[in-house]
């Protein structure tokens, strides 16, 4: 028993997540993204075997044959974060003030049994977001971003949740988008 988290890796029923735990995790992720807290945001991700995907439409296609806005593995996601941290990523310098509202959170799989095609203990959650971005790098516009995120969450050995995969389907992903240099 890990006394710090109350998590016992040996007991499968304790792998399961509640809607409350997942919601709090998503809210925290949203706050880090809104605050451009790059390091904290990246720390929410698993260390290996991750996918951060922003498809060019619905997430119903093979990302190896059709282009996506973002299709990051761990290495590329780290590069993305490090570029933002240089202070010379002019598309996000200064960082856009942003606030997003996460809602309609559903726990699609609580991690108790095998999610189809995924690790037995992967937790799958989907939620909607409305994001207001104040783009101040050039033309000073309040931009609206709307979409649905699907997270596949995992447990670290210490029981903490982390992100294994995140897919963001923007409602207007099939049309031209303005600069998307911040974190969705």
């Amino acid at each position: 028993m890990n006394t710090a988290t109350g998590f016992d890796a040996g007991r499968s029923d304790l792998h399961t997540a509640t809607l409350e735990e997942v919601s709090q995790f998503l809210y925290r992720e949203a706050r880090y993204a809104d605050d451009s807290a790059y390091q904290e945001w990246l720390a929410l991700w698993d260390d290996t075997d991750i996918v951060y995907w922003v498809p060019s439409g619905k997430a119903d296609y093979d990302p190896d044959t059709r282009i996506s806005y973002i299709n990051d593995n761990r290495n590329r996601l780290q590069t993305r974060i490090r570029q933002l941290q240089t202070g010379q990523r002019y598309a996000q310098t200064p960082a856009s003030p942003m606030r997003r509202v996460i809602s309609n959170i559903e726990l699609l799989h609580d991690g108790g049994g095998g999610a189809e095609g995924h690790g037995a203990h992967e937790i799958v959650t989907a939620s909607n977001f409305v994001l207001y971005e104040h783009s101040i790098q050039a033309s000073d516009q309040l931009r609206l971003w709307v979409g649905r995120s699907t997270h596949r969450l995992r447990r670290r050995p210490n029981g903490e949740l982390c992100i294994g995969a995140k897919t963001v389907e923007l409602v207007n992903a099939t049309r031209a988008l303005p600069t998307l240099a911040f974190l969705l």
Binding site: V54, S56, D64, T65, R66, I67, S68, Y69, I70, N71, R76, T79, R80, R82, Q83, T86, G87, Q88, R89, Y90, A91, Q92, Q137, A138, S139, Q141, T174, R175, A176, L177, P178, T179, L180, A181
Partner: protein, 426 residues
């Protein structure tokens, strides 16, 4: 001589109100004046040749993509006889668009308003309640651009039909670039099948013709990338120091301009970022097609980095279309340059590289957009003169009559604007 330059003896006034270009200078009003934009839509995007798409985007009968010629919506499609057609996306009755989809496959197009139905060749096949029809159906086919011609699968159209031949528009300089792109495929063909992403930018379209071909800004505007990914082909080619780098700029004439990064590469296949062993099959297939000498040359050079005036950017392993929306708004569309006749892993690599570099979330283009948008802001209501003289005194004319110079010199900008001034001249 193809030496198109902006050493214009006479200032170019085009709208009769302002001077927009001078020797080595461009006025900000050329990017912000609505009258200039209006005139460009006519002179450049209606009276001239513009790139529409690549025929590999529509391999099967009925496949179509929707595009714009200037602001005119068109459908590029594969007809039943397998020919590629460009049709007005505008019902001949009262002018409703026939499709709003970016792409798809159709057997026919039916207008939502009164139900007129058109075949893939644009002919009117049927109308509801034909008793009242005054027009003959054969007079109601969908309009077509005045001229449509393709070269190596690259489809170009000219709305007015008065642009002369595509051959003349491309010239040797432009055709060579398209040949070069296709030569990278072991079967000489492209596979433009991964779809296009659009980047919506609050700047004039010409900023993209410039910044896509600006070899001066890589070390500054894009430094955030090199500082975290130091080992790219651009290091030795462009970033190593002004007196060291060997990459060059080239004005091929006709507004077609080029950055020759390849002259500064430090190894073969630097453009693909893999050692030769990893793509041994590709190297072998290329040798089989072109012979050893040309194959080795291609493996060194990789793809061109060039603009085909006015709207096609050959962005190394990407194609991009510059789509003017308004004086201060442009969409920059891009797709990875996938090759036919290569292993899927080759194209997968190209796709992933394209996602890394290009588009609204890429590691490069968002910063170009920031600069372009800040230019647009800077011009305000009065414009102001921009200097484009860099390298004027060290550029030279090579044996082919092309102006060439250091990679950081504004030869492409002057080549673009020189041609612009000719086309726009009263």
């Amino acid at each position: 001589m193809s030496g198109i330059d902006v050493t214009a003896e006479q200032p170019v006034t085009v709208t009769g109100r302002h001077r927009y270009t001078d020797a080595d200078r461009v006025n900000g009003l050329a990017y912000s004046d609505p009258d200039v934009f209006e005139l460009e839509l006519h002179r450049i995007f209606t009276d001239g040749w513009v790139f529409v798409g690549h025929d590999s985007e529509i391999p099967d009968v009925g496949d179509f993509v929707t595009r714009r010629l200037g602001h005119d919506p068109v459908i590029m499609l594969r007809d039943r006889d397998r020919s590629v057609l460009v049709l007005a996306n505008r019902c001949s009755h009262r002018g409703v668009t026939l499709t709003q989809a970016p792409n798809g496959n159709a057997r026919s197009f039916q207008c939502i308003f009164h139900g007129w139905t058109y075949g893939l060749d644009g002919s009117l096949k049927g109308v509801p309640q034909p008793g009242g029809m005054e027009m003959s159906k054969s007079d109601c086919s969908l309009d077509r651009p005045g001229q449509v011609t393709s070269y190596r699968g690259f489809v170009f159209a000219n709305q007015s039909g008065t642009a002369g031949t595509l051959d003349d528009h491309l010239g040797t300089g432009g055709r060579e670039l398209l040949d070069w792109v296709c030569d990278l495929s072991p079967i000489g063909e492209l596979d433009i099948s991964a779809g296009w992403l659009g980047q919506d930018v609050a700047s004039n379209w010409k900023m993209w013709a410039e910044s896509d071909l600006d070899g001066y800004h890589l070390g500054t505007l894009h430094n955030s990338l090199w500082s975290v990914v130091p080992d790219t082909q651009y290091g030795p080619a462009v970033l190593a120091g002004e007196s060291i780098v060997k990459a060059t700029t080239r004005n091929r004439g006709g507004g077609h301009v080029e950055l020759e990064f390849w002259r500064g590469y430090d190894r073969q296949l630097a453009w693909l970022g893999v050692p030769r062993e990893r793509v041994a099959d590709y190297c072998e297939a290329l040798t089989e097609r072109h012979g050893r000498e040309r194959a080795e040359e291609l493996l060194w050079m990789g793809p061109p980095h060039a603009l085909i005036f006015p709207n096609l950017f050959l962005g190394e392993m990407n194609l991009a279309i510059i789509d003017p929306i308004a004086p201060d708004r442009t969409v920059h569309h891009h797709t990875p340059l996938l090759l036919a006749g290569v292993d899927p892993s080759f194209n997968l690599r190209v796709l992933r590289q394209s996602e890394a570099a290009m588009g609204p979330a890429g590691f490069l283009l968002p910063d170009d957009a920031a600069a372009a948008e800040r230019m647009q802001v800077a011009f305000g209501q009065s414009g102001g003169w921009m200097d484009m003289s860099r390298g004027r005194s060290r550029e030279r004319i090579d044996e082919r009559g092309h102006v060439v110079s250091h990679v950081s010199d504004e030869v492409p900008g002057r080549g673009f604007w020189g041609h612009w001034a000719q086309v726009m001249a009263p």
